[in-house]
Subunit: 316 residues, 2 copies
C-alpha cells in the first residue's frame, strides 16, 4: 500500500462507495458529510455490494472541511450542482503536493476547480457505477464500478498517462476497483455524454425507462439524433469519437435491463438535476466552437424548466 | 337568410357550437354524432355562451352519414386524428354543388379532403374559439369565436376572395359569428401555428399553463425559438409572415389569463393529441422545402411518444 491519504468531498452513493473501498483496503480516508454526519460518526459506513458486503464501524467523519487533515488525493464526489461550494471546501483539504480527483459526471468541471487549486493539481475521473444510498451511511453497490482516470489540462488537450495517474490507479486497483486510464480526459467525457444526454434527458422529460425510449419510434429517433449532435459537438471541440460509438451504445441499451437513469432518480426524489454539467456545458462548448446543437439545447431548456420545481439538499 | 343547408361532421365543443349558432339563427343544420347521439336526439343541444345562453330542444341528429341529407356546406369539425374517416363520411353528405368547410387546427388537412371531394369543393376555416363540452350536447362557449374563411387551392397558392366565401361569411355573420376572410389560407394556417406549436406543445411536455411557460427563462426562450422556426418554415414554404408576429403573440400571451391549452386538455383527458396536423405536417412541409426545423421536430417526437399512451375515442 502506498500510504497516500484520501479525502472524500461528498459522501453519497458514489463517494461513499469508493471511499469505503479504499478504507476497507487499509488506506487512510477522510469523509466530509453534511446531513449524514452524526449517523456516520457514530455508526460508520455499511456497503452492500454485489462483490461482497462489508462494514466500517469507525471512519474519519467531518462536518467541516476546515477540520480535515490535508490529503494527497481529494476525491470530489459532490453532485455538480454543489460545485459552487468547492472554493471554500478544497483549499483546506488538499496537501501541498496533493491533487484533486474530479469524480463527477458531465463536462467542464475541471476548469473551475483548476482555478481554485491550480490546473496542474487536477485529475479527472469517470465512474461507471450503479449504486444507491439506502439510508445514512448505507450504500448499495448494484453493478459495475470501473473508474477511468485522465489528466486535466487547462486547454483540454490530451494530458497523457502520468506517474500520478498510474499511482492513483494502483491504489484503486489495490482496493478492488477496476481502473482504466485515458490519455484524453475531454474525449472520455464527451464519449460518456453520448449516452447520458439522450437517456438521462429523455427519461426525465418523457417519464420513461430506457426500454420504453428504445421501443418507441419517435423517442428512439430523437435519442439517435441527440447522440449524433453530441458526436458532432465532440468533433467540433477537437475530440472526435469513434464513428461506430452511437451504434454500439444503442445496441447495448437495447439489451440492457430496463433502467431508471440517475437523473430520473434525482428528479423523482425532488433533487436538482445536474443539467449544467451534462447539458448546458456541452451545448455551450459546441456553440463556442461554432456548432449549433438545437436538439441538445431544446432538451437542456426543457430540463431547465423542470429543474425549477426541484429543491437542492446539501450533499452527503 | 340564404336557405343554404349545413352539415356538421363532428358535433363536439367546436362543431356543436357553430352548428347550434347557425341552427338558432334559422338555418337548416344536420349533425353527425357518435357517443352523444342518443342524448342529443332526445334532448337537443344546450349552449351556455358568454353572449347569452340558448337551447335547441329538437335538432337533426344522425348516427350515420349515409342517413343525412346532402347539404350545401359540410363543416368538418372532427379532431384531425379522425380524418381517416372522411373518405367514408363526406361523399354521402355533400350536395352536388356543395362544399366542405374544413374547420380544423393545423396544416395540410385540405389536400387529402380535396382528394376525396375534389379540390374545387374545399374551403378552409380557422376558428379562434374557446369552448368546452360540459356533457352530451351541452357546450360552454367561454370566449372568442371568430372564424377566418379562405379558399383552398391544390398547390396552396392564395385562392382569393370568392363569392362562395362571401356567401358562407354572410351566413355565419347572420348567425352572430364574427368572420374574417383571408386571401391566403396556408399563410393563415402558418400564422396560427406560430402560437399553437410552442404553447400547445410545451404545455403538454412541461405540464404547464401558458403563464408558467412565459415566466420561466428556459421555457420562454424555447418557445421563442420554436416560433422562429415556424416563421422560417412558413417563409420557406412560400407564405412569409409579418416580421413582428412573434413579438405580438408573445406580448399577447404575457397578458393572457393563465391558460390550459386545448392540446393539454386533450392529453389530460386521455384523448389523442392532434400532433400530425399541428407538428408533423408543418415539420414535413418545411423539410420538403429544404428547411430543417430541429426544435419543431424534437417537440413533435416528444409528443409522439406521449401520444402513444393515449386513447382515441370516437367523435361527437
Amino acid at each position: 500500500m502506498s500510504g497516500r491519504t484520501y479525502a472524500v468531498i461528498g459522501t453519497g452513493a458514489l463517494g461513499g462507495y469508493y471511499g469505503a473501498r479504499l478504507n476497507h483496503a487499509g488506506f487512510d480516508v477522510h469523509y466530509l458529510l453534511r446531513s449524514d454526519y452524526e449517523h456516520v460518526r457514530t455508526n460508520g459506513l455499511r456497503i452492500d455490494s454485489k462483490d461482497g458486503d462489508f462494514t466500517l464501524p469507525t471512519v474519519n467523519a467531518y462536518r467541516n472541511a476546515a477540520d480535515m487533515p490535508r490529503c494527497d488525493v481529494v476525491i470530489v464526489s459532490l453532485k455538480t450542482t454543489q460545485n459552487h461550494l468547492l472554493g471554500e471546501l478544497l483549499p483546506p483539504v488538499i496537501a501541498d503536493d496533493g491533487c484533486v480527483l474530479v469524480l463527477q459526471n458531465g463536462l467542464g468541471m475541471e476548469g473551475p476547480i483548476g482555478e481554485i487549486v491550480g490546473h496542474h493539481r487536477v485529475v479527472g475521473g469517470l465512474a461507471f457505477l450503479c449504486s444507491n444510498k439506502l439510508g445514512p451511511g448505507h450504500i448499495h453497490h448494484m453493478d459495475y464500478g470501473q473508474i477511468t482516470l485522465a489528466e486535466h489540462t487547462p486547454d483540454g488537450s490530451p494530458g497523457g498517462e502520468t506517474n500520478r495517474i498510474k499511482q492513483i490507479a494502483a491504489d484503486l486497483e489495490a482496493a478492488g476497483i477496476p481502473v482504466r486510464t485515458s490519455r484524453d480526459l475531454v474525449k472520455s467525457r464527451w464519449k460518456k455524454l453520448v449516452w447520458n444526454v439522450p437517456f438521462n434527458g429523455l427519461s426525465v422529460v418523457l417519464d420513461a425507462t430506457t426500454d420504453r425510449i428504445m421501443a418507441d419510434k419517435h423517442a428512439r429517433i430523437l435519442a439517435e439524433q441527440l447522440m449524433a449532435e453530441v458526436v458532432a459537438a465532440a468533433a467540433a471541440c477537437g475530440h472526435p469519437l469513434d464513428a461506430n460509438i452511437t451504434q454500439i451504445m444503442l445496441d447495448q441499451t437495447a439489451t440492457m435491463t430496463p433502467y431508471r437513469t440517475s437523473m430520473k432518480i434525482d428528479h423523482d426524489a425532488g433533487r436538482l438535476m445536474e443539467i449544467e454539467a451534462i447539458f448546458g456545458n456541452p451545448w455551450r462548448a459546441a456553440k463556442q466552437a461554432g456548432l449549433d446543437c438545437p436538439r441538445l439545447e431544446s432538451l437542456y431548456r426543457l430540463l431547465g424548466f423542470l429543474n425549477g420545481g426541484g429543491s437542492c439538499p446539501p450533499a452527503g
